[in-house]
Amino acid sequence: MSNVVDIRGASKSFVGVRALDNVSIDLAAGEIHALLGENGAGKSTLIKIITGVYVPDSGIMKLGGQEVSFRSPRDAINAGIAAVHQERNLVPAFGIAENICLDRLPVRHGLLDRAAILADAEVWMKTIGLKLDPATPVRQLSVAQLQLVEIAKALSLRSRVLLLDEPTASITPHEADRLFEVLRDLRSRGVAMLFVSHRLEEVLALCDRVTVLRDGRNTAIGQPIEGIGRRDLIRLMIGRDEETTVPPRSHASDGAVALELKGVATAAAHRDINLTLHRGEILGLYGLVGCGRSELAKAIIGAISVTAGEVSVGGRPARIRSVADALARYRIGYVSEDRKGEGIVLDQAIATNIAVTVWTRLARRWSRFLSRTREYAAVRPIAERLQIRAPSLAVLAGKLSGGNQQKVSVAKWLLAGTEILIMDEPTVGIDVNTKAALHRLIRELADDGKAILLISSDMPEIVAVADRMAVMNAFRIVGMVENTHSYQDMSAKIMHVIHGVADADAETAGSGRVA
């Protein structure tokens, strides 16, 4: 095997923070090389060095044996390096086809050759299994479809080197399998690939070698994946064993109903939703991306209108008109899956982010002015309880790691005295450690008598944390499963429930979103 990309001793600092410290990695032709590490370990920085977005402070990068130094992304593209970045890389108003071909728009007689663009893009859409009109503007696509377009775009460069930064974070297992087939095919054709994922099962099944980063340094460089287990990978990533065992629930639910939906239909196409959530209970809501989970949460908090059926809170009929209504009158909080977009305000202080739900309570009686002192006094206990790690509460939320941002996002609802908390994918893109801490927190909250609706597409998570599970598919609840806390057992049951229905109306499930 020959090394296509070879990086030795790369370092990169950003204003005082050492993101990469003497990191090495090499990619061989015809391999899928895993890059692992917790959030903030430096994976994305490394990818951005290889793609010419960042220039390293020191270190050597060789491409096919030749030393290179990229000054811009253009240099990397010209050198045959393509990447699927974590950032959205698409132009909303443009069609799928034009987005795929954006960096090489074909021209005939000085004008764009639209037919050529469509034909070119269609090849790659077919490869990845994206059955949509190539002229569809990408702003009309779902998150999973956007991700597939990004991947098609990267594949279409036919590059020797393909870097994939969490390509499977938002797509369904089925779509992921299809992607893996494509990647295996590329491997057989000699493409060198770098694959970043938080899902270790994927890494173990797909990759040939693994490089691990911890706090910006190598803890493994190109180790063969054979003979390495999940435990070993986690130890390399966090430096010790993962706390896999979630302690058993000490308090059971007292049986009082906190939230009940009866025959609910919504403006977002839900039909006949029946759901009961008890005080002190963690109810898991499992389903694939795009099955209507988050939309149901938004309907419960009044952000999407309920068109039929009954909603009751604490046994009394409820009419929730807005998110403010949900919080003030029914004490329902929603931790959004889109942490940065909906969960927190990035350029505001931690204290402000948390106190926003209680400003009216904190304001002085007559003047209605808010005082910084009161705000901090109110926020401090909750920040300490959740162990939000920051030098002070004045630190901007945008400066925090993903895990700490999520804690801020949860803290603001707790401070507001929420009794029913809906948590939507609370641990997506969060490192193993913080994930365990959040799982413990969810348990504690339930032990305190809060009712928790935990939405997740992470099956190990939901099996570890939830008491019961509602399974959702195509905007319906297709089954309720009692949790046995055995991963094998539960995944079989859940898949059975989903596929039992999916087979019956494969039409709706499969073609539901094709324009």
Binding site: P92, L111, R139
Partner: protein, 323 residues
């Protein structure tokens, strides 16, 4: 499929705007038959022609998600350069026009290069150049217009075929070229791509500096064309040309559907918006309304149209959530 097309057409907003324009024309024709006289139509079309390049100049910077406050003051500078060359030095008209276009090009290029190299917001940079260009114009002329314009320039501004001014033909050709640039050329798509998602443009390896400089230079050229036509129409090169361009330069593209954050513009929409504004302006004149009220109506119209767009976006968001 056909129905889907029709829905798509309605969504883009131009059909709605065309409908409003049609209703306005019919209503005005009924209310005051004087509207349909050849001379009145000529007046309306002339104002459309005069404003077209002004609006396109701003539309071009809007496409990248930026703006130019100096559209008008650059126009004023071009106007006095053309006027001065003709009157003071007797430069032949084609050369004077070329010099005017060169000034527009240079002014726009300056904006572009300042924004691209300093990374400072376009609002700030063009606020500064707005002041500089305006000061230059006033300093050079001491605020005194050039009165003696060549006959050929006057003819350019006043020639008409029935109700249709020659200038309208010129600006329609310009508009066509601008549309072609945005729809069918790489640089045009890249301006929109940069406006729609700057990160995407960077990661796709596009030169964002080139895109920004091109957009502002193109904007400057369009300002220059607008200024030359205005001199032809007024028959004098006034230093105050361009002082009243700012509002219309934003109003027309935005009513025409452009996104203030960049990524989407419509030449057709902008032209329809200009026609609608001209008809409304004419209506107020024909109905004897004080011209100052026209500005109030313009303000109201901007609010109304942006609200409608906003609602439409909201519905789209609802659909996206429902998906």
């Amino acid at each position: 499929m056909k129905r889907a097309r029709a829905i798509q057409l309605l969504r883009t907003g131009n059909a709605g705007l065309a409908l409003i324009l049609l209703v306005a024309i019919v209503a005005l024709a009924i209310a005051n038959p004087a509207f349909l006289t050849s001379f009145n139509l000529y007046v309306v079309l002339t104002s459309v022609a005069l404003w077209t390049c002004v609006a396109l100049a701003q539309m071009t910077t809007l496409s990248t998600g930026q703006m130019s406050l100096s559209v008008g003051s650059l126009g004023g500078l071009v106007a006095i350069v053309v006027g001065g060359l003709c009157e003071l030095w007797g430069v032949p008209l084609p050369l004077a026009i070329a010099a005017g276009l060169a000034v527009g090009f240079a002014g726009g290029f300056l904006n572009g290069i300042l924004i691209a190299t300093t990374g400072i917001n376009s609002f700030i940079i063009t606020l500064a150049t707005f002041s500089a260009f305006h000061g230059l114009t006033m300093g050079l002329t001491r605020a005194i217009p050039f009165y003696h314009m060549p006959a050929s320039l006057k003819a350019l501004g006043n020639a008409r075929f029935g109700a249709v001014p020659l200038m309208l033909g010129i600006v329609l050709v310009v508009a066509l070229v601008v549309d072609l640039i945005f729809q069918r050329t790489r640089i045009g798509r890249y301006m929109l791509a940069y406006g729609g998602n700057a990160t995407s443009a960077v990661l796709s390896g596009l030169s964002t500096r080139k895109v920004v400089i091109f957009a502002h230079t193109m904007s400057g050229l369009l300002s220059a064309i607008a200024a030359i036509l205005t001199v032809g129409r007024l028959q004098i090169a006034q230093p105050t040309i361009g002082e009243d361009w700012l509002i219309i330069s934003f109003a027309a593209p935005i009513i025409g559907g452009a996104s203030l954050t960049g990524g989407y513009v419509s030449v057709t929409g902008t032209l329809l918006a200009l026609a609608l504004l001209a008809v409304i302006n004419d209506a107020l004149v024909l109905l004897g309304v004080d011209p100052f009220w026209v500005q109030v109506v313009l303000g109201g119209l901007i609010l109304a149209v942006v609200s409608v767009n906003r609602l439409r976006e909201g519905r789209r968001l609802g659909e996206a959530i429902a998906r």
